[in-house]
Symmetry: C2
Subunit: 341 residues, 2 copies
Amino acid sequence: MSITGGPPREASGKVTLTDVARAAGVSVATASKALNKRTHVKEATRLRVEAAAASLDFTPNYFAQALNSSRTNTIGMITSDLDNRFVLPILLGAEDAFGSGSLSVLLADARDDVLREQLHIQTLMARKVDGLLIVGRTTNPRPPATFASDIPVVYVYAPSTDDADSSVTPDNHLAGRLAVRHLVESGRRGIALVNGEASYAAAQDRAAGVIAELADHGLELAGGRALFGQWGEAWGRDCARLLVNGDPSIDAIIAGSDHIARGVLDTLHDLGRRVPHDIAVVGFDNWDLLVTESRPPLTSVDMNLQHLGRVAAQRLVDAIAGVGHPGRSYEAVHVVGRESA
Amino acid sequence: MSITGGPPREASGKVTLTDVARAAGVSVATASKALNKRTHVKEATRLRVEAAAASLDFTPNYFAQALNSSRTNTIGMITSDLDNRFVLPILLGAEDAFGSGSLSVLLADARDDVLREQLHIQTLMARKVDGLLIVGRTTNPRPPATFASDIPVVYVYAPSTDDADSSVTPDNHLAGRLAVRHLVESGRRGIALVNGEASYAAAQDRAAGVIAELADHGLELAGGRALFGQWGEAWGRDCARLLVNGDPSIDAIIAGSDHIARGVLDTLHDLGRRVPHDIAVVGFDNWDLLVTESRPPLTSVDMNLQHLGRVAAQRLVDAIAGVGHPGRSYEAVHVVGRESA
DNA sequence: ACCAAAACCGAAACCGGTTTCGGAAGGACC
DNA sequence: GGTCCTTCCGAAACCGGTTTCGGTTTTGGT
């Protein structure tokens, strides 16, 4: 080999640990230890190595590192349906929580298809992700994913049916309760529920919460039952018309979603009922675009989805660190008061 | 070494190429070549190796592979603002295009912050992604990202200000033209535009398209100018009231977005103007939740965002393969006709 | 049966780090 | 000055594959 140390190469391209070691006049072994703050390396040499590394702007090769160390600092996130407005805030919260550490996120969308999910999990396993975050498209419990590995998994939004798994889901029961509580506290007594589709756990849970809270106040649902239907505005419009015309004692309507609530508001407006003077309206989801500029602005129960994502991410990080939290956690929600109630 | 070949170990854990080679009675070199269908390996041995690999369900170590080969089969996707409804379809389209190959996607959200973007790019570089997809939050051109590497980059939605870069963005000019064309073809002549915020390129481009198409038909904008305002319903409501009360010749209103269009519809409904009989309304974005259940259902220009994502992904794949398409590409949009126009 | 050419296989180097382990340098103490 | 620890450093093995390159076997032709 030539004696000429030579000046640092045009830094671009690839500068390896060997280069750093040579520049610092030490062996690669020492360089490695120095940069990783390992076993007693003399302060002076450590500084020398660090200086060399900095001046060459050395970046350790991620793959060489990952090759031995079994930790990849990467987690896999599997969504059931990216084209779903509920997953965005969750993704954001999770990405936030991970990104602030130095975990990278591998994203895969399963298109709500079990086979595709299986395939993506396979790929993620091959990439040796440290953990898996599985985001559902509804809050309906789903069968756990199966794979031959024991990396930690956290289910978000849609909990796993297996209670040994770790799941994080919004507390829809509480959401129902809070909606009622908010209304009762402002003096409402004739409270009706225009709900979403019966096949959705979210709709069922919210209804249960509504009924439970009403019972706590010695009340029951106006009309006697939760009206399950569809999630859209049309259902809200039609249903509101029936309710208002049919039962004059109604002074509040809880809508299964903001979208439904918009329909309810439209009908009330058409019928000349004043909101909230005559009838109060509460929705669920607190979806900006629907609630802030409605007439009047809509009081809604915020599902704290971003928080949900963050909590799930934190759980996964904990699980990777060895402290798992098995079981379902129901995350708190809160009412955002606006003019409609 | 012991002579006993021994039965395949309990397959779980980690089975390496060495194990496969031993099981097939060949060297690791041969095993590698066989599995990668490389230089002439006898058909029989190849099959034997493949059988061995299958029976041990061998998965090559991703990192060992990546360590020599400079291709990682991973691309980085940087979003400026995940909490933005426009990015979802784009993400979906891109993820779709990539996933169908065997590319994995590393997701990072920059929170619309240059520093954070820089940081994430750094991380992605360290992971040696094969390419970068940068998704903007508006269609306003943005300064190109800077980094010390020459991997291909494609900008989506927000194009790069540098025309040497590859950008894919929706054709908002065409969108404006198509909205007008649709209205003119059904006989409208008094066409007004209730636009979004003037600081958005999307608003400017659509306005330009509207005016250009009107000119082609010998018309001009009712009221003389595009009314820039905000993107919300309230602006749509207020503006519609002024327009309709001020100029009886107006028989169509183009709204800068579906959201604005909803406000316009509400006002028309309140004033007793029939849609589309008296006045036609067209929106932009074709956002399901706003257009399908409005009264009446809203005709809207669909920006083809999912297609946009797919095209961008394809461009990136091409660029990685060596065939780049520098410059901006404006992707087609189309009108989805419903009852309102 | 014999030889050159073609086909096939395996030892070893390599990708770029981390870790083990033995040895050298330096200091304290007798 | 010699012994015994410490402390610090470096050679080499290793992670799990891919690739080169030389040697061995097969094939094909006569």
